[in-house]
């Protein structure tokens, strides 16, 4: 699309969000924290701007990658030690514990 025409369309049809603003609002958009008006303007801009559509997809992809990150392995000796302490704790009456837990 001709850049000038695109700029005009953005200005008059897409509610004046610039690409920069779109990039700044991506997380708000994905979190659903934009107002209805902002959301509509955001989507109007996306409809007209392939670059911002790509950017949004890249961000979603980045998040998907992080979601698939392998879990942090906890060494077995840590778990065994904790289970041992758990068994000792079980023998004790409940009130004998030390510091209060903040709820």
């Amino acid at each position: 699309m001709d850049t000038n025409l695109k700029s005009k369309l953005m200005k008059y049809m897409a509610g004046n969000f610039t690409c920069r603003e779109i990039a700044q609002l991506v997380t708000d958009y994905l979190d659903g924290s934009l107002t209805l008006g902002e959301r509509v303007r955001f989507q109007l801009h996306l409809g007209l701007c392939f670059a911002c559509r790509n950017y949004l997809r890249q961000m979603k992809y980045t998040i998907a990658l992080l979601r698939q990150w392998p879990p942090e392995p906890v060494p077995p000796h840590v778990k065994e030690e904790l289970l041992k302490r758990f068994r000792t704790w079980k023998q004790r009456p409940p009130q004998s514990s030390g510091k209060p837990g903040t709820d």
Partner: protein, 278 residues
Amino acid sequence: MLNHFFFLPRGHGIRQIESAWIKYVLCPRPLIVTVGLRIIPHSDVRVSLYYLGSTISLSPLTVHDALNLDEPGLVQALQAGDERVFAAVMDWYSGSLLRLAMSYVPSRAVAEEVVQETWMGVLEGIHRFESRSSFKTWLFRILTNRAKTRGIRESRYESFGLSVSSTDADEGHSTEDSLFVAEGSRTGHWIDPPLAWEPDTPERVLLSKECRAAIEHAIGNLPVTQRQVMTLRDIEGVSSEEVCNILEISETNQRVLLHRARTKVRRELAPYIQGGKM
């Protein structure tokens, strides 16, 4: 085995990924799809379904699903000293706790100790747990309290953590600014419009060592609070409300930190995914 239901619009397909199994479906009309999940013992099952290139994340399984216990049931079982439940809960959360602890303290060994201390804290406090917050939030709060204390003792948190809010705040309005035209009639437009990334599955991308190293490097270089928010929200899949309670930050602050972190990680990732500059 657990079933999840979700809505799939007409004409869209989904592919199976990792721990969820599902046949490829192309819908002739809107459908409610059942996804069968295998519960893998001792692992947090996360499910993402790919939906024409974009990702739908189902809410991850919770420890409650895996144990078939609701929240009060879980707390009661722990109070009663049910070792099976304790072992399962510990298995479920320890990896996440460890990852968060590593953002507070200088070494993995110390982080492991913090995780141990956290579970001891759970045992000490479980009889007084009053469900004012969820068990998960309570658990992570014990961890952050102990990790902070420990981090100060190890003198790292003092230099990085406590001053971190100012570091984060001083970072300028946006980390994306350099990507946009700053002056003239094209102000606010992309200098280099982002390209479409090759739609490969995250699993395949994560098999590449360079890519994993790039993400690790990017996360490791984030200011501490950004790293904490990203660890909890994006890696561990904790809800934004819980993240705010765990880290004691406001919803807005949380979103700003998350956004900055994601922006940086995306930028580090770009060269590995599209093989060019971003």
